[in-house]
């Protein structure tokens, strides 16, 4: 019996096959792209900030880090990224860190003083800096 190849590979089936192959190629490409981008992002080095040993009492902004030095000398450090949308807090008003973009305000202990932010500032771990006597903060920018 002679096989009817025209019937086996009708235009509709050929189109579906082509679309399927294209979809598989596209999905594979997209998957590889997403995987690559995830890896690129994961490999991102944190930004290193050197804090001086004689940090002033109260709140101060040291680039990507907000530092609060209590009267007892204890330090609290936070990322200066606003937890609302990531704007960098760049001003201190009335003893609070203020976001210039949408007006969120944060207490010295990192908690929210005024929205729209609803989450406290991200704490940053400080390591002693043996060379300067200060501290080193590593912040993901």
């Amino acid at each position: 019996m002679i096989r009817d190849t025209h019937q086996t590979f009708s235009p509709e089936r050929r189109k579906a096959l082509r679309h399927g192959i294209l979809f598989l190629c596209g999905a594979s490409f997209a998957g590889a792209l997403v995987a690559m981008l995830r890896e690129v992002r994961t490999r991102q080095e944190p930004e290193t900030v050197h804090l001086p040993p004689d940090l002033a009492e109260g709140l101060s902004i040291e680039g990507p880090v907000i530092v609060f030095r209590e009267a007892s000398g204890q330090l609290l450090a936070f990322s200066s990224r606003c937890t609302h949308l990531g704007c960098r807090l760049d001003r201190i008003q009335g003893g609070e860190a203020v976001c210039p973009c949408h007006g969120s305000r944060f207490h010295p202990d990192g908690s929210v003083a005024q929205g729209p932010a609803s989450r406290p500032l991200l704490p940053v771990k400080l390591e002693p800096d043996g060379s300067s006597g200060g501290w080193i903060a590593r912040v993901q920018s």
Binding site: E57, G73, L85, Q93, G94, V98, P100, C101, G103, S141
Partner: protein, 907 residues
């Protein structure tokens, strides 16, 4: 018969789609040109250099900007037009999908262009979009990396903007229009419109100083929405949903398609409204307020090819950014180290546009005299400079004059109690009291703008920050005089010497305002104002001859005893700290509440050393001050801790002896601080404030007459214009006399104290339409005439003025085994029956208001009796005698042991 084919909106140069396509192509071509000077690794610097030193390059950037804005607006209108005509069904499904997708890609193109500016707004926008998109589950983080790169770098954004997104949109447009290039007429029209705008309107950069940070105009609605929402991740899903609705419209049945279109139209109108709100009504930190940036982010108006001075190579940099101001104003001196132009530039204070060399554009929006409180937030108070101080100054009593306003309104019968609210002099109304203040008092507050260059003269008190910190050196005065002379002849050159912005404030800065009202500055320097000076002394403005001095406003002063601190060379700012003078951020009702330092903070009690704080405990502002002062002898390591628990930045301890020292702020000279003597802490004097004994004299006038003259003219300091009708004050003779004593209530739970008082508002008030009234109110006063030696005991215990009876004969006469006090006043009675200069009747009290404050009072009858009982002893025993010194520690015991010859008063 078929219905006529709907016709899209068209112009003589083509349809909206033709014009949008032409605009896109123009943007793409000019973008290719801009790629040559643009450097994504130095985005701000490369654009700033273009703006400053490359007019053709600026022109191409303007073309790129305007054609892109046209493209976005025309594309949206083109889409709306087709949806209105319901012609979207004619587009093939695949092509419609790609056209639908081209809309968010076009927005990405616009947004990425905004990010590529690399200025503060671009950086913040990059963080925001990365954060929002990054919150999308699974795909968010990879999409952020794909579209916006990582680490804040702009290389990925640059590639996607210039290549990927541009090529995609161009391909989709070609598929849609079936043309490789736009129609020539449309291209010419779009090009001409963009060119015309580009010749005169240049988009600027955010210079990092403007406190207002905003996204591009088409994202202001989104910024407003994001201000209110706590779920920003909904934004990308909403965008996807809207794009899906748009894609689905051709496939929907008619009623649903119509509803979808109306929904999109409604949402579009609401979004446009929100963009307007964000653009016009939102200010610093997205709060409601003035919305106009100081210039950096605005469109700059001016002929782009105007002749400019040759730009030097390299361009002058300030904080790493090019600043055009320094091309013309090169070599400016005089400002001092902290504010030298090489460090802070010119625009950080004066505003204007630092990214152009055209004089008119550079000076557009410039603040000629920065530092006035009305514009301090845009000059001294920008986020990079002194942002924290300006709100404090705004609330300071030197700005609000809250106490003065409250007392005046109360005295005029317009407020139930002095200090019932906290008014502001800038918000005065037009009541009799407010008009009185507007004409006679409101000139002296920090909110009064300085309007003229040069040193302060009679018409320019106030000036915000400048009132204290602007110092004209002789060289700066000479440069100003030269400049003004040249301007009158039309040949002006930029002056080369700037007045200094200095921390070294001499007392002359305070003198201008504080030589009035309470005359504190006069008293501190030992000057007594004469009401009727010899005519020969008038008209010799600002001169000192012998023991007389004539001020610029023609007041004549006579030299008497100055304050001991002034004699020792101390300036006002040596005691009055920065926090006190500029405010602590709290709105106080009265000046006294804002004062931070007390005598005992520097003069320790016997046997009690002054408490101290280490250097590391200093607040940031004090630390900055220490660095700026750089006093000789090195940075102090220990500081005096005041009773408020604050560190006194110029109060320290000698490192070897441990003795407390005060550092003169201007010179760094260290003065030893003396401790109190034992008498100060004796039980009998426990309630006495230092000033009660150590104040030599206080300037006072017994009473005054305040009336309103309808026929005269006066100057309204708030409206800053002449007005009809004038308040006129006439007073009795001024005199220097020891202060009257009275009682100041303590803090809740605290002890009341004996303080110094002077006639405050002893006046006849003659207002139109209201019966003439008389009131007799004394005011708490701090005359600033401190002496090292205290006043003698008898000057309080046996003195009619100290007790509040006024001048006269206060006598103690023995009557058998007892004695009796009598008083004969020297002055005739006033309208209320009391002697003209009295506060209270002899051994009596008053029921009507007695003071300009609610928490002070004259001595009660019982207190008068107790004081006069000691006074009776002093009629025989000298104040320095053994008996009287013992009385300080145990007066009751002394009375019990008194001699039979002693006579005590009976009442």
């Amino acid at each position: 018969m078929s219905s006529p084919r709907p016709t899209p909106l068209a112009t003589p140069w083509g349809t909206l789609g033709d014009l949008a396509t032409a605009s896109f192509v123009l943007a793409a071509l000019t973008g290719a040109v801009l790629a040559i000077p643009y450097d994504p690794a130095n985005a701000y610097g490369s654009i700033a250099t273009l703006l400053l030193a490359n007019a053709p390059g600026s022109f191409f950037r303007n073309l790129h900007y305007w054609s892109a804005q046209f493209c976005l607006v025309l594309s949206v209108l083109h889409l709306a037009d087709h949806l209105w005509l319901s012609t979207e069904g004619r587009v093939r499904r695949g092509a419609w999908l790609r056209l639908t997708l081209s809309l968010p890609i076009l927005v990405y193109l616009m947004l990425s262009g905004f990010l590529l500016r690399g200025d503060l707004e671009g950086q913040q926008a990059l963080r925001i979009v990365s954060q929002i998109l990054g919150q999308v589950p699974v795909l968010g983080a990879p999409l952020v990396t794909l579209l916006f790169g990582r680490g804040g770098r702009l290389d990925v954004v640059y590639v996607q903007h210039a290549a990927t997104a541009t090529i995609l949109v161009w391909l989709f447009i070609q598929e849609h229009t079936r043309r490789l290039w736009p129609r020539p007429a449309a291209f010419l029209a779009a090009g001409l419109a963009a060119t015309l705008l580009s010749l005169g309107f240049s988009p600027g950069l955010h210079d990092g100083l403007d406190p207002i940070v905003k996204g591009p105009w088409y994202f202001l609605g989104l910024q407003e929405i994001l201000h209110w929402t706590r779920w920003p991740v909904l934004v990308p899903f909403t965008i996807v949903l809207l794009v899906a609705i748009l894609y689905a419209i051709p496939r929907l049945k008619s009623p649903w398609a119509r509803r979808a279109k109306w929904t999109l139209l409604g949402l579009g109108l609401v979004y446009g409204g929100l963009c307007g709100v964000g653009g016009v009504l939102r200010g610093e930190s997205w709060s409601w307020g003035p919305a106009w940036p100081r210039g950096g982010g605005n469109l700059q108006v001016g002929w782009v090819f105007a002749r400019t001075p040759a730009a030097p190579v390299p361009l002058p940099l300030v904080q790493g950014h090019p600043e055009g101001c320094l091309v013309c104003h090169v070599g400016m001196t005089g400002l001092g180290n902290a504010h030298r132009p090489e460090a802070v530039g010119c625009a950080s204070c004066h505003g204007g546009n630092p990214l152009t060399l055209q004089k008119s554009r550079a000076h557009a929006g410039m603040i000629r005299i920065p530092g006035n409180l009305a514009d301090a937030a845009r000059s001294c108070g920008t986020s990079a400079c002194h942002a924290e101080i300006i709100p404090r100054v705004d609330r300071s009593v030197m700005t609000t004059m809250a106490g003065v306003v409250a007392v005046d309104r109360h005295a005029f019968g317009e407020a139930p109690a002095p200090g019932g609210g906290i008014p502001k002099v800038a918000a005065l109304g037009h009541s009799p009291a407010d008009t009185h203040l507007r004409q006679l008092c409101a000139g002296c507050h920090l909110g009064t703008p300085k309007e003229h260059l040069g040193t302060d003269t009679g018409d320019t008190p106030g000036g915000g920050c400048l009132a204290c910190h602007l110092v004209y050196s002789p060289a700066a005065q000479k440069a100003l005089a030269t400049d003004q002379r040249q301007r009158s002849t039309g040949r002006a050159e930029a002056p080369k010497v700037h007045p200094a912005l200095s921390l070294d404030l001499d007392d002359g800065k305070c003198f201008f305002c504080h030589s009035r009202s309470g005359r504190i500055s006069l008293a501190y320097e030992g000057w007594m104002e004469l009401q009727d000076p010899p005519d020969s002394l008038r008209g010799t403005a600002d001169q000192i001859s012998g023991r007389y001095r004539t001020l610029a406003d023609d007041r004549v002063l006579e030299r008497i005893t100055p304050d001991i601190h002034q004699e020792k060379g101390m300036a006002c700012v040596d005691c009055h700290t920065a926090t006190e003078v500029m405010g602590d951020g709290t709105t106080h009702a009265f000046k006294r509440e804002q004062v931070r330092l007390a005598c005992q903070d520097c003069h320790s009690r016997p046997g009690q050393p002054l408490p101290s704080l280490p250097l590391k405990a200093l607040d940031p502002e004090s630390r900055r001050l220490l660095v700026l002062r750089a006093w000789p002898g090195g940075t102090p390591q220990r500081f005096i801790r005041t009773e408020r628990g604050e560190a006194l930045v110029n109060g320290t301890f000698d490192e070897t002896s441990g003795r407390p020292m005060l550092i003169r702020k201007k010179t760094g000279q260290r003065l030893p601080l003396l401790s109190q003597i034992s008498d100060c802490s004796a039980p009998a004097h426990a309630r006495l404030a230092c000033g009660a004994c150590h104040t030599a004299w206080t300037p006072s006038c017994a009473s005054c007459h305040t009336s309103f003259d309808r026929t005269a003219e006066s100057y309204d300091w708030i409206a800053r214009k002449d007005v009809a009708g004038a308040w006129v004050e006439t007073s009795q003779a001024f005199e220097a006399r020891p202060p009257t004593l009275g009682i100041q209530a303590g803090e809740p739970g605290g002890q009341s104290t004996v303080q110094t008082f002077a006639p405050g508002m002893v006046m006849t008030l003659d207002r139109p339409g209201v019966p003439t009234t008389f009131q007799r109110r004394y005011a708490r006063s701090e005359p600033h005439t401190t002496t090292r030696r205290s006043r003698p005991c008898a000057s309080c215990h046996n003195d009619s003025q100290a007790l509040g009876y006024g001048r006269g004969q206060l006598r103690f006469a023995a009557t058998g085994r007892d004695g009796r006090w009598t008083f004969i006043p020297a002055l005739p009675p006033g309208p209320d029956g009391l002697p003209a200069d009295a506060w209270i009747p002899f051994l009596g009290t008053r029921t009507e208001p007695v003071s300009t404050r609610l928490d002070v009072r004259p001595f009660s009858v019982d207190e008068q009796r107790r004081i006069l009982t000691v006074g009776a002893c002093l009629t025989c025993h000298d104040g320095a005698s053994h008996v009287m010194r013992n009385s300080l520690h145990d007066f009751k015991g002394l009375l019990a042991r008194r001699s039979p010859r002693c006579r005590l008063p009976v009442w």
